[in-house]
Subunit: 588 residues, 2 copies
């Protein structure tokens, strides 16, 4: 490889003093200010030379661990025929999130958000026997998702780079092993990136499939909430958390349902005031609309304890691929039998909503509601509620759903006690897809008995550009970036500063020595730039080691500066490289 | 780097016996059959592990030579706002060739066919002084062009990978130097790829700009024609060839124009028969339509010698960005004054077409037509022609254009004698764009006198995937691919074949030895595959060196097989690697 010593006097970079207007998180601000990335459109970025160097190092770590896990690299096109996704139903599932276009002949194409279909079809094309399996193949490739709210720079872009791997096995044991190999590789990757992570049970989302786990990086700027127990025995994305129903209650001795007047009591608070109860004794009936990809709306009612709010994201898991919205005025107008503020499952001694319903509106209960539980709730007529309404005696439901918000202190489903809630961002995701894609696309092989069996698959993704942003997020201070050694754009920055030619001559010499040792070197050889500006840029850019050839260069002395610890050590020019080598060993 | 020895028993590849149905050229057939690429849609391909390895090696050569030329790598998005291209007029110029889409908010986006605008805007964003220049930046990136007839596999795809570089200078001398540095780098790249090339003067096409040269690979499957002189002093793409007008002729002694009957003579041959002339004495008037990106048509007439055909691609250079089509019945109906078969520039002693025209139809003359030349041509009435019609005396034109086909034997414009014509494919293109893009996008810097000057630019492209296909095209035989050492997916293929465990044990040992020496090794360890199949696959895949551990393995003997020369050398297992090293040195 042709090596050159990069020079700040010619490197295409311009550090900026001002934060970009649209930037909210530190990594976004610093990656732009330090000259790593540059915005081209909302959620679409160019990678300047510094940024590309860090990307390449992140990709290299991922490649090495994929190779170690036995995965083979290949590369699919970003532009694919839409019919690949029609066959698995994902063309609809992705909705507006997928970039779509027609080619000059009118053939519908998409920019791939992920590549399950293409990988599956290609394996089907080439392989036909269990002897060909197991197979894990991957690519590092640009992906496209038309996010409604692209934000936080490359942390959540509309064009982003992913490593996506896919495993193919002919039996379940094989899938378990392939899954575990990728899961282990992910742990190694995040450790090498120096990124904190937790592994949580996850919802499979639009991917389908049976088992899935997310690698979350705990961070305040995260979009996900995850819950876990103090003993570490349970961790899940909040969307995958399953509530424990209240224990079944014996209602044999309960009195009958009683209707009572509650004039104007349209809120839980007002009802409790009039009825003398606490909010958790009331059953709140929320009118929602399920919206499919064509915009068709179905009105449903979800009931939950009065002291909890509906968590729409958790509900969407239950109703996917449909989206869940709160009902509009229009939705309500179509169902005049509903009396807002006084809705309940029971009316005049009969089932009003739920399985025996004549309203035609499906009625779902939150998973926390126990059998035989008794409630205060709406009487389905203005200014009236009921009490002693027993679930299983007076009303039933069309199903149970995970509807209520999850709270710290709720019980973990594995019985390991109360849960703790934290914010995080997804940095990796491993799925056991099972046979969904292989079935939809007809991928079968002959098993050892000569019988055709459907292949079982896994899908494994890591966001390259997102992980890079999170490394920056986790490694910075108020003066700039502080790259971990393994992903830094350069190993060492040599700064020439001060009057006369001596500092520049010494810096050139040390840069050449470092380069000869195989280090990636950036040389700040800019003439007529003040020491303050040079040091400021050094801190902003965040190369882990800085050698300062300054005013003592003439006496044969330079400083070694550790960007992270801020320690500075004065050493002789002759000893500089040997000392740096020792210090780097200590830190790695 | 984690190194592993790749094994054919697990490598994701399946060699095919049949050529793909749609394949026309050898490289396309062989890259598919040998398991390098796999078609996903017309002109859109996936890269299997073998193919990706070759790609990476081609990219590496390009990167090294870019670094040597002082260019810095960065990476722009493929998805860009359409308005980048609106500012330079290219949104129209590219027409149907550009993939276009709207995002979820209705913002018009494109898949970038090339990136002049984005690079220019980013330099404008960050740089402001001549001190920042010269700058040459490049990327290796997927590009998109919606070709009407994608063909020949990855030789001309709709998604393809390019290295595109852009230079920025504040004065013309700087641009000349930047251009020369890239041109030199291109020569080094093609030499390392082992690709034959010629450098020809080129038309700048939709890029605009002043000077441009193409690197063409001479090949029968090429889409371009280029012409050159035997002494090598002149070479040009046929679209950039400029015809030499016939010498001016003194027409003082010429008789007057004479109309004569030519009943039914609608072809040059028929006229010549009736008039007793040769085709080159006739002036052929061809009715054409210029079509803009909105489909608006303008009818024009182009006149040329009767023995030449119009070359529409050459004409399109003159009329770009409009496309040139032969006139339709509808076009002709709008101009009933034109009498098909008898059209001429002159009528009843007055100007009928050309500058004094009353028809409103622009009239252009081919560049070969000389001043004072005299012609037999249509009389603009049925069944009549004129003779002794003198250009400059009896008719004029609205302009000269390069309209006629170029023929071997035509004079080179530099006076170096007759030209030779050959077929070729563009493998690289260097442009001096000049100030067109910088002006359109407002890229200025302060010069040494503190004056704002518009930056002058160059643009330099190499098709990575196309070059790879051409390397395959130039290096194959009827049994398969024969990769040059520097781009081969592996340095050596070790084949274990024959009965018993000995050949496999020997092959494992030699593969490990080769790997330890830093060679990229592929091991054919497939059990129960016949020697014939293994050797056939070896020849198809085309790794330059093959070690065969066969039936003589038990006696400690293996064969070294050179794929290109087909020489086989028997050596002892102990000497195998040392001998291979010697042979490789000799061949490199």
């Amino acid at each position: 490889m042709t090596r050159v010593i990069e020079r700040l006097s010619s490197l295409f970079v311009r550090t900026l003093r001002e934060d970009p207007a649209e930037a909210e998180v530190a990594s976004h601000k610093l990656l732009v200010r330090a000259g790593y990335i540059r915005r081209q459109a909302p959620g679409v970025f160019a990678w300047l030379p510094l940024g590309l160097k860090v990307r390449r190092r992140v990709e290299q770590i991922i490649r090495e661990e994929m190779t170690r896990a036995g995965a083979q690299e290949m590369l699919f096109p970003a532009l694919l025929p839409a019919d690949f996704y029609a066959a698995t139903g994902r063309l609809d599932d992705y909705g507006d999130g997928m970039f779509r276009l027609d080619d000059r002949k009118g053939a519908p194409m998409v920019l791939a958000p992920t590549h399950e279909e293409a990988f599956t079809l290609t394996v089907k094309d080439l392989y036909s026997s269990y002897k060909d399996l197991p197979l894990t193949i991957y690519q590092i490739q640009d992906k496209y998702r038309d996010e409604a709210r692209p934000r936080a720079g490359v942390l959540r872009g509309r064009e982003f780079t992913m490593k996506d791997a896919y495993s193919f096995d002919w039996n379940d044991e094989g899938l378990d092993a392939s899954y575990q190999a990728q899961r282990d590789a992910y742990e190694r990757i995040f450790k090498r990136l120096g990124l904190d992570y937790v592994i949580v049970a996850a919802d499979s989302g639009a991917m389908g499939g049976s088992k899935s786990e997310e690698f979350l990086h705990p961070t305040e700027v995260g979009e996900d909430t995850f819950v876990h127990t103090a003993d570490g025995s349970y961790a899940a994305n909040v969307e995958a958390y399953t509530a424990t129903p209240a224990p079944a209650r014996d209602f044999a001795a309960d009195g009958p349902v009683e209707v009572f007047p509650t004039p104007g009591a349209r809120t839980i608070a007002a009802i409790c005031e009039q009825a003398g109860c606490t909010p958790d004794q009331t059953l709140k009936n929320v009118v929602l609309a399920l919206v499919d990809h064509e915009g068709k709306r179905e009105v449903v009612i979800v009931a939950l304890e009065g002291d909890r709010e509906v968590d729409l994201k958790r509900l969407e898991v239950a109703f996917q691929p449909r989206e869940v919205e709160t009902a509009t005025e229009d939705d309500l107008k179509k169902h005049p039998q509903l009396v807002p503020g006084f809705i309940g499952p029971w009316r005049d001694g009969a089932q009003f909503l739920g399985k025996e319903s004549t309203t035609g509106i499906p009625y779902y209960l939150d998973a926390r509601i126990g059998d035989g539980s008794t409630w205060i709730t709406g009487a389905n007529e203005p200014d009236a509620h009921v009490r002693s309404l027993v679930f299983g005696r007076d009303f039933v439901a069309d199903g149970r759903v995970e509807a209520a918000e999850v709270r710290a202190g709720d019980p973990a489903p594995n019985g390991a006690g109360p849960i703790i809630a934290e914010r995080g961002t997804e940095i990796g995701h491993v799925f056991q897809l099972g046979r969904k894609y292989a079935e939809a696309l007809g991928l079968q092989v002959l098993d050892p008995n000569g019988k055709r069996v459907t292949v079982t698959m896994g899908s494994y993704g890591i966001g390259v550009t997102r992980n890079l942003a999170l490394v920056a997020e986790q490694n910075h201070d108020d003066r700039g970036l502080i790259w971990p050694e393994e992903v830094a754009p350069f190993d060492v920055l040599v700064v020439a500063t001060g009057k006369g030619e001596e500092p520049f001559a010494v810096a050139e010499r040390l840069a050449a020595e470092a380069d000869a040792q195989g280090l990636e070197v950036l040389l700040d050889d800019r003439p007529k730039v003040s020491p303050g500006v040079k040091f400021g840029d050094a801190e902003l850019i965040g190369v882990p080691w800085i050698i300062i050839a300054g005013k003592n260069s003439a006496e044969g002395l330079v400083e070694l500066w550790n960007r992270r610890s801020n320690e500075r050590t004065e050493v002789s020019v002759d000893d500089a490289m040997a000392t740096l080598t020792q210090l780097r060993r200590k830190h790695i």
